[in-house]
């Protein structure tokens, strides 16, 4: 068996982590540079995935298969399609940025930190490339542990509470998914005579509608809804975000939350089409509540990091809305919005982290008038804020617009309600920006803050580049998705027992 590109991209970080374990812990620079090189190399290797990806094909590409547990029908099956391609790239882009953001912020147990972060990257990429239910579950569960350590060891004051809450919440959801995976395996085996965990094979089977499909959908949906997080399963998120170190928050917002929405897209929709349609109205309702509630709660947060954290609840409500419209525009918009949210919220967390490193406070009331003191920071911050608001020309607009187009075709009231979310986003983000950046310098400590350092520029520039690129020329990204998205919608349409037209 030859080792393919996708396997290398997935396991290069873990291999690097094993190597770095051999480096003595006092060689902190070697550890940091080694880890950064590994993650940058991973990103460099993942670029050919994008370049060589054939946008006309809806099927999985870069597929690799190896027997793993043949008697059970478990295989090492990886591949990407238009849905996962961008998420893999987002992961490989965000990880080196997160690592670089921790260059100075994390000076305690550097060895453990870089090893944990590298293992986490393998877990995250693994989730997006797995085409076997068993393999997917392995990565899904395994990446919990490094994140737990990142929050719990390098986090803030209530880090232990936040870390344990994060793990227990996620665990309860995912263990039920394990039972559902097993039940699906045996039902598929009984119906077709073929016992396999292979996702494409199982997805071709048309599961009869009924109680068992509903229960399996709910078990999968719970695991993903907690991860997204959908209202009312979001309460772990503010704690985890606020307590995590900047690098942890960036990865949490940038990549981890996308695993939930990706799970809905990859598993719930094609495997349980009837249940997905039946629960559509409920998902819409919870999404709208999430969009509006997240925005309202963000508005009143005195803490910058908490504000950004709650804005994630709002933005991911949009993504869920787009997914369940089951329209081409809605789905493409949702996937693009996943990437956009990863970039813009990642950028916001990075900037909040930078200002926290300088002032050791994140309270909005402690700032004001920063424009005069640190103009470069303020400018970059403005771009990130506007991208999150959804200003046309930047990345956030494209995804939200497409989602609203999708939602409008399904239900006009829905689209109207969702649009209020965008207005509220402008309110809480711009109001926050105004209080932090404009006005007079009210605190003497803010007078001699340092502006962006070269290292900080270096980690912001790639993100800003993509923020503008997606905003100005989104076709470069959406074109890669369209074939896969249309195929997915066609699959749901052909498998669902009740006809629906969108």
């Amino acid at each position: 068996m030859t080792i393919g590109l996708l396997t290398i991209v997935t396991f290069l970080p873990a291999a690097a982590a094993l190597l770095l374990l051999l480096v003595p812990r006092r060689e902190e620079t070697v550890l940091r540079v080694g880890a950064l090189l590994a993650t940058v190399a991973t990103f460099a290797l993942s670029v050919p995935l994008y370049v060589r990806f054939d946008a006309r094909m809806a099927d999985y590409q870069f597929v690799e298969y190896a027997r793993w547990m043949p008697n059970l029908g478990v295989g090492y099956h990886v591949g990407i399609d238009g849905i996962s391609l961008l998420l893999v790239l987002l992961t490989t882009l965000i990880t080196p940025v997160a690592l670089a953001s921790a260059w100075r912020a994390i000076d305690d147990r550097v060895k453990e930190f870089v090893v944990t972060l590298l293992v986490l990257e393998t877990g995250m990429v693994g989730v997006f490339v797995s085409l076997d239910l068993f393999l997917f579950y392995v990565f899904w569960e395994a990446m919990l542990i490094p994140m737990y350590f990142i929050i719990g060891v390098w986090g803030g004051g209530r880090r232990i509470y936040a870390a344990v809450k994060f793990v227990l919440y996620t665990m309860v959801g995912s263990v039920l998914m394990l039972v559902a995976i097993l039940a699906l395996y045996y039902q598929h085996g009984a119906a077709t005579g073929l016992h396999t965990f292979d996702l494409p094979t199982v997805a071709r089977w048309v599961m009869p509608p009924g109680t068992s499909q509903t229960l399996m959908f709910l078990a999968f949906a719970l695991a993903f809804a907690i991860k997204v997080p959908m209202f009312p399963f979001h309460t772990w998120l503010p704690d985890a975000h606020v307590e995590a170190p900047t690098a942890g928050s960036v990865i949490l917002a940038g990549v981890l939350l996308k695993m939930g929405t990706y799970g809905f897209l990859r598993f719930c929709l094609p495997l349980f089409p009837d249940a997905s349609l039946a629960f559509g109205p409920l998902v819409f309702t919870l999404s709208i509540i999430g969009v509006v509630y997240g925005a309202w709660v963000s508005t009143v947060q005195p803490d910058l990091k908490k504000l950004v954290a709650y804005s994630s609840v709002s933005h991911l409500g949009f993504v869920m809305l787009g997914l369940f419209t089951l329209t081409s525009q809605g789905l493409v918009g949702a996937i693009l919005q996943m990437v956009s949210h990863g970039l813009s919220t990642g950028a916001l967390f990075l900037l909040v982290g930078m200002i926290y490193e300088r002032r050791h406070t994140r309270m909005i009331a402690d700032f004001g008038g920063l424009w005069a003191v640190i103009p470069a920071f303020s400018a970059v911050f403005m771009i990130a804020v506007l991208s999150s608001v959804g200003l046309p020309g930047l990345n956030g607009f494209v995804g939200e617009f497409l989602i609203l187009v999708g939602a409008f075709q399904v239900n006009r009231t829905l689209a109207a309600l969702a649009t209020t979310g965008i207005i509220f986003a402008a309110v809480y983000l711009l109001w926050m920006y105004q209080r932090v950046i404009f006005g007079e310098v009210t605190h003497a400590e803010n007078r001699d803050l340092r502006d962006l350092t070269p290292r900080e520029w270096a980690l912001m520039v790639p993100i800003l580049l993509f923020i503008v690129w997606i905003g100005v020329y989104p076709v470069a990204f959406t074109s890669k998705m369209e074939a896969s998205v249309d195929a997915l919608i066609a699959q749901v349409q052909s498998k669902a027992s009740v006809a629906f037209s969108r």
Partner: protein, 482 residues
């Protein structure tokens, strides 16, 4: 004149190797007498490796002896291998542990080996009388071993409690055997099969079955017969606790599975629902009570009760998948638990065993490698992939789903989520809290280090490449469940 039963010593081969080594150890302890007993440990270890090799070479060649009272089939051999690994790890951990605790006696290794031979005999027993005999051989040695630290009060308590409750349970078992004999006219598993498969079973038989389950429930520490476990786990020397948690549990399950899934498979409608209830009670009680423990040995005692509950899920499911899953789980569990307790035996504070969770605060800074290993073992206990504990649970709960026990599987996985809390608490202390006073330090130990490395390698290999081992386990139970 009663003809002597045909003797086929080959059917006892691995057991005999252990017995011979035990006798040799006793003799070597006397001639010449030495204060340091490391040489006895080396001899014992050699004996265990000999037994392991004997077992491996017998694979696929069934042997029966003593009028079929003892069989050495693949099933027994699989359990023998598990027991050999368990005993070998225990011996490796014991050397420096006993030296540090200042309790060096030659009988220790002999008793461990005698007890291990009893465990192996339980796996081979094909007759209720032999089951009882083997159980007593194993248990009596363990009672003595539990009280090895005779100056310590809790050791005395552990030993006495274990002995009294154990004797009580043995008498339940014996009474059950007697009633079963009365109901079926035989103690041989082969004849019980026919009697148990009939359409209606007598009250006598059912009472006998219930009493036997009480006896076994005690030995595997299933709720509500688990009361002894926390006290014994806490009071016994940690190396002995390891043996009780691994080897004796494997042996108890070995005999119970041969009885329930083999001899009494026809009576599944009678014991199945009972086992369902016991499994739920056992795992839930174990996990919930473990949350409240601050003493690690007690916590692990309750955790082991919970794991017994998971394995009982496999009993309820039955079939090759259920039985094979239990064998795999026992194998995986042995490495995991031996590793966990192994770290505890190697950690001490001011010469005293470190067993309180607070003493492990900051271990990740003081001894990164040791803390890393303990984390690995705990993650395997939680069932985080890709470690052995996860694959074991996957097989067990998969068997339950396969045989239609969906809700049992749901209860079991929710229990695993509860369990994550108290296992991670130890990790919290090791990595996320700073020590308030002097914390646990590790006693440098080459043998102990080897044991931990073997255990860690075992759970990684079993987790990443489970297929060959799971296939072996499945084929080993093929003759058992038919």
């Amino acid at each position: 004149m009663i003809p002597a039963p045909p003797v086929n010593l080959a059917a006892l081969a691995p057991t005999l190797v252990l017995l011979a080594t035990a006798v040799l150890v006793l003799l070597l302890d006397l001639f010449p007498p030495r204060n340091d007993k490391t040489h006895l440990a080396v001899v014992s270890l050699a004996g265990v490796i000999g037994a392991l090799l004997t077992a491996l070479t017998r694979w696929g060649r069934d042997q029966r002896g003593f009028r079929d009272m003892v069989v050495l089939d693949n099933y027994a051999l699989f359990i023998d291998v598990v027991i050999c690994y368990a005993v070998a790890l225990v011996i490796l951990l014991s050397i420096d542990y006993l030296r540090r605790e200042g309790v060096q006696t030659g009988e220790y290794y002999a008793l461990v080996l005698f007890s291990a031979s009893g465990m192996m005999l339980m796996a081979s027993a094909n007759d209720l009388v032999v089951v009882f005999l083997a159980l007593e051989l194993m248990s009596l040695c363990l009672y003595v071993l539990a009280g090895l630290f005779k100056q310590r009060l809790d050791a005395g308590e552990a030993s006495l409690k274990y002995f009294l409750l154990g004797a009580f349970a043995s008498s339940f078992l014996l009474y059950g055997i007697a009633l079963t004999y009365g109901a079926t006219g035989s103690t041989s598993f082969e004849r019980i099969v026919a009697a148990a498969s009939g359409p209606d079973r007598s009250v006598l038989f059912l009472v006998g079955l219930a009493l036997m389950l009480v006896g076994f429930g005690f030995k595997i520490s299933a709720a509500p017969f688990h009361m002894w476990a926390p006290d014994v786990y806490q009071g016994a020397p940690t190396s002995v606790t390891t043996l009780i948690a691994t080897g004796s549990k494997a042996a108890g399950f070995a005999a119970l599975m041969r009885l329930l899934l083999g001899a009494l498979r026809g009576a599944q409608p009678d014991w199945g629902p009972l086992m369902w209830g016991l499994a739920v009670v056992t795992m839930t009680l174990g996990n919930v009570v473990a949350i409240a423990q601050s003493n690690l040995k007690r916590m692990l005692a309750y955790s082991s009760i919970a794991h017994v509950g998971y394995m009982m899920v496999g009993l309820v499911a039955g079939g090759t998948s259920g039985a094979g899953a239990i064998l795999y789980y026992l194998f995986a569990y042995t490495f995991t638990v031996a590793g966990t307790f192994g770290v505890l035996t190697l950690c001490a504070r001011a010469g005293e065993e470190a067993v309180e969770v607070e003493e492990y605060a900051g271990l990740g800074r003081r001894h990164p490698l040791l803390a890393g290993m303990l984390t690995l073992f705990l993650l395997s206990l939680i069932g985080i992939p890709p470690l052995a504990g996860f694959v074991g649970k996957f097989y067990l709960f998969g068997a339950a789903v396969q045989h239609g026990y969906l809700w049992l599987a749901v209860i079991a996985v929710l229990n695993s989520a509860i369990a994550a809390y108290y296992y991670l608490r130890v990790v919290v202390f090791m990595y996320m809290r700073e020590p308030e006073a002097a914390g646990a330090q590790w006693t440098p130990s080459f043998a102990g280090g080897v044991a931990l490395a073997v255990a860690a390698a075992g759970i990684v290999i079993l987790g990443v490449m489970p297929a060959p081992f799971a296939d072996l386990a499945q084929s080993a139970v093929a003759t058992l469940v038919r």
